[in-house]
Structure formats: structure tokens, C-alpha cells
Amino acid sequence: MMLIGVSFITQAQDTLARRASYIGLDVINSLPSVIFSKGYYIRNSAIIEPYYLLDLKKPGRKLYLGAGFATGSTHQYVDSDPSQAFRGTYVRAAYEVRRLRSTRRIIYGGYGPVIAIAGYDGKFRFKGPTFGDYEGRFKETNNVALGVEAYFGFDFKLANNWLLRLTFRNVMGRRTKADTYVQYFPGFGYTPAGFNNRFLYSGGLSLQIHYKIR
């Protein structure tokens, strides 16, 4: 038994040694909310997404793991819904397939699950032209959403060990609890109104810098 175990570990180490892995970071997600704080649907939001990429045994296949942290507020777009502050964390995993176009530019695609947990603190307002406005508050905590993400993109080899990743992604999911409609769900992005506030769908762009650690 012991021998089998030891041989398995050494074998695993052998294959791991030959496989490359990267750590990456996406911080540009929050840039539009700071630059276009007047017109974009979220404002002054911090979105930080670290990634881990690992080559799988099968050639051209990768495991893609991502985490995320988002905090900020949505843009006022309805009078009665002046602000929604949000804070959330999420994790995603994906199985990735790549096609080599040239040695410098690589196209890839993948899909996998996303799990997000978020909290909200918002205001709502009723206009009272005769007696004055009323402003109320609402709060949601531990809001969980599950979903799937599909994406494709390009890898650009910058220099030794540095990789630039441009990803176009679509993510859809479902909130397990939806007491109020929220304009932005961390990990899922802009959420359409309707569908009982439970359905989340968003498309977006991500630019990441990766560093080869092995």
C-alpha cells in the first residue's frame, strides 16, 4: 500500500514539474467606474481579481481558477432608487482549451462554474412634491448566487514569464435569495430587471497580467 502511495506521489511530482502555472491579476475592471463615474452603471468601485492558471496533463488544456473582491456603489439611474452600495466576493473555476495561432498569439476558450456571495446597503426615495420627500433604507446580507461562465480570448506573450490575457466573457446565474432588485452583482456584473430579480446575466471584458511561477 505504502509503495503504491509513494510511487503515485513521485509520479505526480514528475508531471507537475513539467507543467507550467501562472498567477495573474485583473485590476482594470474597476477603471471605467472611476474614469466614467458619471455615466457608467457603477461608480468608484474597486474590483480586484486574482487568477491561477495551471497546465493540465492533456496538451492544450488548462485549469483556470479565479477569485474576486468587489466593493463600490451603483450609479443612480432611477429617481426612486438613488444608491446601492455593494460588497462581495466570488470564486470561479474553468476548464480551458487553447488553439495555437502563432507562437506569440494564442486563442483560447473555456467554461466553468461561478459562486458569489454579496451584501447590499441601499436607499430608496419617494418624491413628495407637497409634503417633502421620503427616504428609506434597505439591507441585504449573505446573498448567494450560482452560475456558469463561458469565455474566449487571446494570450499575448510579453516577455520572459509575462503573459497578457484578454478575455471576452459571458456569465449567467441565479440568486438563491432575492428580496430586492440589485443593479450590480459582484462576479456577475450588470443584472437585468425582471425574472423575479433572481436571474443574473452579463457580458464583459477582462484584461489580466499573468506571471509564470513554474
Binding site: V78, S80, D81, F124, F126, K127, G128, P129, T130, F131, G132, D133, Y134, G136, F138, D179, T180, Y181, G194, N196, N197
Partner: protein, 160 residues
């Protein structure tokens, strides 16, 4: 005909489509019905109001005969709204008590309603006869997609 079936199904689906009633989602108004006003209403003044415009606008519209009704805004910031009515040779006061409700409703967003107070008096009035009825401003359940009547809200009948 076979090809028309899905189209017919879709159209029927759209017609029988129902939706939730959201109510006014704004400052609510109580309907005041005047019976046997032989004195003619001159002016109405709302206490603690920031603007009297919504009230004066209604008075400009002709108040014909001795039976008429006006719609008076209710405060969103207080559970009491008081109005002073000035007639030729007579002044009356009416305070309406209610319980404000703000909540989230699916398909609507945040909604507001005014309910009957759980305890205490329902009104203070110097009119000779006053009768108040609390109806909801937000209808419960599913409503037909087109042309359903809005919730009646608070209706007050007064006699001078």
C-alpha cells in the same frame, strides 16, 4: 393554418398576460367627497406643506354644484395630514390619521401604501359629519395586463 397556431398562441398569451399592481409609487392622495356644500369652497390649506400647488391647482378646476370631490396629497414623512378648508363664512379643519407602509414588491420595486391605524382615532374633524374609509393603494394578487382600476385608497365623505 398549422403555421398560424404558434402566432395565435403567442397573441393569446400576450392578451391574458397579468401583472402585479404597483400602486402610485409616489405621494398618495386621499379623496374627499363633499355633500351638500351650500357655502362654496374658497381655499384649502395644507399644514406643514412645502408646496400648496397640487391643492390650488384642483381648486382652479371648476367645483360644480354642491356635491363634488377633490384629491388631497398625504404626507410621506408623517402619519398625520391636516387640512384647513375655508368656505365663505366658515372654516373647517380635517386631520387624517394613517399608517405609512414602504416595502419592496416583486416586479415593481419599492412601493408605498397608507393603511388604517392599528389604534387611536382615525380622524379629527370640525365638519358636522365625517366618514372615513381605508382602501389599499396597491392591489394584491395578479391584475389584468390592460385597464385595471387602481386601488381606491383613503376616501372621506364630509358634510358641512
Amino acid at each position: 393554418m398549422k403555421n398560424l397556431l404558434p402566432v395565435i398562441l403567442m397573441l393569446t398569451g400576450m392578451i391574458v398576460q397579468s401583472c402585479a399592481d404597483c400602486g402610485p409609487q409616489a405621494e398618495l392622495s386621499a379623496t374627499i367627497r363633499f355633500r351638500g356644500d351650500s357655502l362654496k369652497l374658497d381655499s384649502v390649506y395644507a399644514l406643514h406643506a412645502v408646496s400648496q400647488e397640487a391643492i390650488t391647482r384642483q381648486l382652479k378646476d371648476a367645483l360644480n354644484g354642491s356635491n363634488y370631490q377633490i384629491s388631497l396629497p398625504l404626507s410621506l414623512t408623517s402619519d398625520t395630514t391636516t387640512y384647513v378648508f375655508r368656505f365663505t363664512g366658515q372654516t373647517d379643519t380635517l386631520s387624517i390619521y394613517y399608517q405609512r407602509l414602504f416595502r419592496y414588491k416583486g416586479g415593481c420595486g419599492f412601493i408605498n401604501d397608507a393603511l388604517e391605524p392599528t389604534s387611536g382615532s382615525h380622524y379629527y374633524s370640525t365638519f358636522s359629519k365625517t366618514n372615513i374609509h381605508y382602501g389599499t393603494y396597491v392591489l394584491p394578487g395578479e391584475q389584468p395586463w390592460l385597464g385595471h382600476d387602481p386601488g381606491a385608497g383613503i376616501v372621506i365623505n364630509v358634510e358641512l
